[in-house]
Symmetry: C2
Subunit: 375 residues, 2 copies
Amino acid sequence: MRKHNFCAGPAALPTAVLERARDEMLDYQGRGLSVMEMSHRSATYMAIAEKAEADLRDLLAVPANYRVLFTQGGATQQFAAVPYNLLGPGGRANVINTGIWSKKAIAEARHLFGDVHVAASSEAGGHLAVPRPEEIVLSNDAAYLHFTANETIGGLAFDYIPGNAPGSEERGPRRPDGSEAPLVCDMSSSILSGPLDVSRFGVIYAGAQKNIGPAGLVVVIVRDDLLDRARTDMPSLFSYQALADAGSMINTPATYSWYLAGLVFEWLKDEVGGLAAMDAINARKAARLYGAIDASDFYSNPIAIPNRSRMNVPFVLNDSRLDKPFLAEAEAAGLLNLQGHRSVGGMRASLYNAVPEAAVEALVAFMADFEKRRG
Amino acid sequence: MRKHNFCAGPAALPTAVLERARDEMLDYQGRGLSVMEMSHRSATYMAIAEKAEADLRDLLAVPANYRVLFTQGGATQQFAAVPYNLLGPGGRANVINTGIWSKKAIAEARHLFGDVHVAASSEAGGHLAVPRPEEIVLSNDAAYLHFTANETIGGLAFDYIPGNAPGSEERGPRRPDGSEAPLVCDMSSSILSGPLDVSRFGVIYAGAQKNIGPAGLVVVIVRDDLLDRARTDMPSLFSYQALADAGSMINTPATYSWYLAGLVFEWLKDEVGGLAAMDAINARKAARLYGAIDASDFYSNPIAIPNRSRMNVPFVLNDSRLDKPFLAEAEAAGLLNLQGHRSVGGMRASLYNAVPEAAVEALVAFMADFEKRRG
């Protein structure tokens, strides 16, 4: 029996997707073999891969001048791949620090290239609100501005696209000298949670294991005018240009994960009805849980309301002695993986696309009941 | 209905493994979620990961001073990771060239570090036999000697461990000055096909998609005295030391592929009966197919008999005008993926561990029948 899974990642997948993967496991559509057992260059597999890309493009309305890449190594590998591909001669990474994942991106760029300009940071305030647009100051040698759309651990999300005033015609953020820098976004934990204006970005990347599919796959969406500035002294597999030229098949890609991602994209299109519909569901789920937290003196979440993540809802029991019984009783009630990240403690409920509204209802009901009995 | 799948990779997996994956897809052992949906740090998943490593160690009798890593990016990523980790100051990559995959390893080391010493090559002879042991000459600045145990495309396999006379007590190959260099082996298409003396090697790596599991996972086995010579200017995820320190979980690993690899290891232990038993089966399969080819004037394979790959059997129809009907009729008879690699043409039957003897019997019977009708 399936339980309610609030894991931050690898995260819940739609039951309908898993059912289809199960049914096709031994014999994909009468071909006599599993998708896992197919050559990535076979006509059957190429059709699977191409449909996945087409569906993703359709969902996000990806403009024609963007390439969609399916690669490996998680967002962490992109922390290296982004500067390798974009720094160019004399360029410097500019990064906004909003928490643990931004700091990892900063650390890797620094590790490889020595210097990073932190264009804004919410660290002094404990990462309870993202920097205001006017606080973001690029360096004149900014090769790009990187930000983390949604901090999975902190539960902190941008409510605007940095460098772009809402409704503005500007594409990227500007350096002090007025020139435009490409915007790079780690969207691992929020991609596909709602509609997106891809044209505002130079590069979007996302580890699959939250809203896309199984861990090990990474999707990169890159504007094609950015493909020509890569360093040469980097692993060949990191090259966006080489990946684009090879249709993401420089070598054997993570074929089965790519297939599962395709099933998730199909589910979003055909079952959910697209990203506007998904957006509305995600808004309801988040409102329901934050509403329950805010209405109680027993639970709390400290994040500034406009920056509260819809995907990851960290909360604490105001009496932390009740953490253990809360988690044990939740698990017994079929509510899994509510423990906060080991670096911060407390609780965290991740409400990714595949977490149904019924799961949130069950969680809210459990929380109310627990408070009543223990509060 | 499952058909006979001779794909060179991603390759056939044991039907019993796929059945188990299917049965556990929606609910792993009553936990209420799929393995794909579990935190890699959860107790349930950690037990899966640890059992997989323990079973692999058991199968290959991996000595205690070796670390087993589960990483991503295919063997191609290891073409970069090996020199990054092993070159050290002033060291040079030494590589034996036996075909397309060795050449890719050479090209990547050259791309990153400029110079590679080709310690021996079978290229002049068209890669029909591996270099003899006495032809292998290392440079005095050899940081390691790399070889490809089995060339998947050429169907050429080493019948000895380079630098080690059979039965010798030597561990690695020697430089001209008499010092020992670590031996590095790309074992992607032959690992687990039979017993192995791991202690002869410094590093063994293998992309999973032949004898281990789904594409996207890579297994690296590294002797622990080699962990301290890595460059610092490389992507953090490439560091064997960092991977070893983190139990292969620097970031989220390819959890589902790792789980499936574990199921394959269990199958090898519990169903097949270990690598000596697997070795005997693989020997019978290869003997049956090469025997049929050699007994015919209609089919041929040009590789020197001691160097014929047991895993990948390339062969040609002596009348290449019959290639298309051969492939079409084979497919109609339920024999899939017999087309040779696009770079060489002809046919190729890959006989990895998961290809049962019955598949080889069916192929041999089809080949005889086709010859009778068309020869």
